[in-house]
């Protein structure tokens, strides 16, 4: 069992992860206890990972050369520790550099997530690439442009104000002398100049002059993706590489007592290894590795341990809350004087990210150095995790992250790489470990389950005066209410999660916003006011008001919410997270045959400041909405006696083509405001809007995810 520290840091800066801990023979770890074969979990606080220096400081003090390279042929290479997993960072950061360098975007080449070449820009998570990495890339590119102009002016002995740069061509206005960046690239002076630190006050191109930023640049390597040429981490192959498989326990908490490796070792070209609780095999093909693993798994003896089931998980989490006193409402005396008091408990189950590319890593040892190709949102964190596990200096570990098959907050930890590296060490050959879908569903970390308790008081005019909100176990993001309430306290309390848990797209705000926005509809009903009016009466933030009003207008809320039907309804919800703002109105109906909820239409308005890439942002918003249908309507991990009962796409039903509702998406551009990320927040309004639509149709409020039509 693991303990879970309170999230005390500002949610926007925090990503959480609970790494698997490995205890190999050569390491001596103090604070480990067994979770099961192949993995050990550290007792003690869950590492709440703040953005590391590169991400947090925006790369201040960094040299131009650390960020940008000008090749002799004029090729511009931008270096970043951010990774691409489908969210669009490759295009966006290319745009950022191209804009400031005044070159077409196709002149930019990106190197992403290779720890031996790039600066540490922190984890790719928390919608932080846009606010945290775009600015330093722009600053470095603007500085490079200025330095190159300076060099040209020196060559021509002309004043700086008499030259201009366009399409990578520096031109002296009066003499029409011209120099390309490539012409300058050879000069030693460039290397010298690029060794300078990027000044933090370098002036950036104002939004109204943008030519590349603000346009819909497609993903630079998309052609490789449609022809099957792009090498995902799963597709990396090294000379002599073996295919590895790791023995998994039959259940959470199970401990390996004994195993016979002989059946695997008897197979030609197969290696088998036991190191404490870690057992793995490697073979020249996946097929043979699987057969070898099956053969030894049949000999394994296990000791199991009790584990709560998904049916009792909410009681369990509440029983294990770590600061019971904080559950108490501090406003009890005032509540007694309120005209109306409402209290409700919401439940959010564990869900899995289920990225289509499962965890995978290729590990190769040479000269005491470890090189790993893998899919992770956290290349430098991964490097550190490997270095600690194998007792190496960080610079003896190189992590490369080819563009990979999505993560949604689920790929912050390095377990596949540690497994591959341990097997590669034993085999003295490169080894790839690719998790199966069942392994990914069972052993990857989960989005936390939560119990959310809210109590509120209304005055006799329907004004919301008292608010007490507790999110138990899921963390602090999105806990604070955006509404104006005179007495309000919102908190995240930790519990003792029996499953390994960590970040997810929009993290705890998915559950917290669900509960809060559902409760707002219950309060509106108690006050006898329309849900839109009730929200607006308590909402001051002009940006949140703007998206809410726009969504309601586009959807025709006022007219449509007046109609009443027992088998169909409309609902709305809004929210803010990570510096962006969302509101959604939905139309749902009950399928008369199956009783399932059909989301027929979603109208969503989203605002994240100045839009950097409209088409990519639209993709992200569409993705959030459709992906959000899963946890809203169907997704939940079911487990009993430490075994996952639905660890497959056949049983755990994620959104498919047929679930696609009619979408009306409006991106509210605010060129006057700094850009925030857009890959998470658009998700948080969906589930509560659906729940509120069910409430609207049936008169019965919803208190649980996934949402069911009340019987």
């Amino acid at each position: 069992m693991t303990s879970f520290a309170p999230f005390g840091i500002a949610p926007v800066d925090v990503e959480s992860m609970e790494p698997m801990r490995f205890s190999f023979g050569f390491s001596r770890r103090g604070f480990v206890q067994t979770l099961g074969a192949g993995l050990m979990i550290a007792a003690g606080p869950l590492p709440a990972l703040a953005q590391r220096s590169g991400g947090r400081t925006g790369g201040r003090g960094q040299t131009v050369a650390a960020r940008l390279h000008l090749g002799k042929d004029g090729t511009i290479t931008v270096l970043t520790g951010k990774i691409e997993m489908g969210q669009g960072a490759r295009a966006e950061l290319s745009q950022a550099a191209a804009e400031e360098l005044r070159v077409p975007v196709d002149r930019i080449r990106m190197i992403m997530g290779d720890t031996s070449q790039v600066p540490d820009d922190g984890i790719t998570a928390g919608s932080r690439t846009t606010p945290g990495t775009v600015p330093p890339v722009r600053q470095a590119a603007a500085t490079a442009r200025n330095l190159l102009i300076d060099l040209a002016c020196q060559r021509w002995s002309v004043d700086r104000n008499t030259v201009e740069v366009r399409d990578g061509l520096i031109t002296h206005a009066t003499t029409q002398k011209k120099l390309t960046y490539a012409d300058l690239a050879d000069a030693e002076e460039v290397a010298k100049a690029f060794a300078q630190a990027v000044p933090s006050d370098v002036s950036l191109t104002p939004v109204k002059e943008w030519k590349v930023l603000g346009t819909s640049v497609p993903r630079p390597n998309q052609r490789d993706l449609v022809i099957g040429a792009h090498q995902f981490p799963s597709d990396i192959s090294r000379p002599g590489m073996l295919y590895g498989k790791v023995l998994r326990p039959p259940a959470y908490g199970a401990k390996l007592i004994s195993i016979d490796l002989a059946p695997a070792k008897a197979m030609k070209d197969v290696i088998a290894l036991q190191d404490g609780q870690f057992v793995g095999v490697a073979a020249p093909t996946t097929h043979l590795a699987r057969q070898a693993l099956d053969a030894i798994a049949a000999t394994a003896k296990w000791e199991t341990a009790p584990h709560p089931s998904s049916k009792e998980i909410f009681d369990y989490l509440k029983e294990h809350v770590q600061s019971r006193n904080d559950l108490k409402n501090p406003f009890e005396a005032d509540l007694a004087k309120a005209a109306k008091v409402l209290k409700q408990t919401y439940r959010v189950p564990y869900v899995q990210h289920a990225p289509l590319e499962t965890r995978v890593a290729v590990a190769e040892w040479a000269d005491g150095k470890l090189t790993v190709w893998t899919c992770t949102q956290n290349p430098f964190g991964y490097q550190g995790e490997l270095a600690r596990t194998f007792r190496l200096a960080n610079d003896k570990v190189r992590v490369l992250v080819p563009d990979f098959g999505s993560g949604y907050g689920g790929k912050h930890t390095g377990e596949a790489a540690i497994e591959a590296a341990r097997l590669a060490q034993a085999a003295a050959r490169p080894v790839i470990v690719k998790w199966t879908r069942t392994e990914e569903f069972t052993w990857a970390y989960f989005r936390p389950a939560a119990v959310i308790e809210i109590e509120a008081g209304l005055d006799d005019k329907g004004g919301l005066k008292i608010w007490h909100f507790v999110n138990l176990n899921a963390g602090g993001s999105g806990v604070d209410t955006p509404y104006r309430i005179p007495q309000a306290r919102s908190r995240a309390l930790s519990s003792n999660s029996p499953l390994r848990q960590g970040s997810y797209r929009a993290l705890a705000s998915t559950g917290s916003n669900f509960a809060r926005e559902c409760f707002m509809d219950e309060l509106a009903a108690a006050a006898g006011v329309d849900p839109l009016e009730f929200r607006l009466a308590h909402l001051e933030n002009p940006r949140l008001r703007a998206v809410l009003e726009e969504a309601a207008k586009r959807f025709g809320w006022t007219e449509r919410s007046r109609k009443q039907s027992p088998n169909a309804g409309v609902g709305l919800a809004c929210g803010t997270e990570k510096g962006s703002f969302v509101a959604a109105c939905v139309d749902v109906a009950r399928d008369p045959d199956t009783g399932d909820i059909r989301v027929r239409q979603v109208c969503e308005v989203f605002e994240c400041g100045a839009i950097l890439n409209p088409n990519n942002l639209l993709s992200q918003v569409q993705s959030c909405i459709v992906m959000g249908l899963g946890p809203a309507l169907r997704e939940q991990m079911e487990f009993e006696n430490g075994r996952m009962l639905n660890a497959s796409f056949g049983k755990y039903r994620v959104p498919r083509f047929k679930d696609l509702p009619e979408l009306d998406i409006h991106l509210l551009n605010r060129p006057d405001l700094p850009s925030a990320g857009g890959g998470e927040t658009p998700l948080i309004a969906l589930a509560p809007a659906i729940a509120n639509a069910v409430f609207h149709a049936t008169g019965k409020a919803v208190h649980e995810l996934p949402i069911r039509w009340p019987a």
Binding site: G86, P218, R219, V226, I227, G228, A229, K434, R656
Partner: protein, 154 residues
């Protein structure tokens, strides 16, 4: 057993366990890594290939079952530098997030449009029901399929 396959116009023979999944043969023996593992149980479509022009889930197909067959993988769809209209349509509509589902989605679309050259939204939604895009990029994929259908009808 010895298995003989025509893959992307090339004749290949290998000696292997007849039960070995076609997916693993393509990836590990022929280095055709465009065909992806997603679930190993035929639920996600990432491993889709075309066999004699029809969709086949290579992760649940023992290689012996396709002995003597003609297989097209994503690598064999374009004619040299000229992309297939479905590939062009996916690019034109930007119907790609992480791209891991894209090869299977593209091949499945090629097969679907052979059966239904003029598909409705509902035809596409049911025709591609077996193809999972976990990034949920379905709205743009839907547009790309219509776009491709239009190009193919020309």
């Amino acid at each position: 057993m010895n298995v003989s396959l025509n893959v992307n116009g090339q004749q290949r023979t290998l000696s292997t366990d007849p039960q070995r999944p076609l997916l693993e043969v393509l990836r590990e023996e022929f280095q055709l890594t465009g065909t992806k593992y997603g679930c190993g149980e035929g639920q996600c479509g990432a491993c889709t290939v075309l066999v004699d022009g029809r969709r086949l889930l290579s992760c649940v197909t023992p290689v012996s079952r396709v002995d003597g067959k003609t297989i097209t993988t994503i690598e064999g769809l374009a004619q040299g530098d000229a992309l297939h209209p479905v590939q062009e349509a996916f690019l034109a509509e930007g119907a790609i997030h992480c791209g891991y589902c894209t090869p299977g989605m593209v091949l499945s679309t090629v097969a679907l449009l052979k059966e239904k050259p003029n598909p409705t939204d509902a035809d596409i939604q049911s025709g591609l029901a077996g193809q999972l895009c976990r990034c949920c990029g379905y709205p743009k994929i839907l547009k790309a399929v219509h776009h491709a259908a239009e190009q193919l009808r020309k």
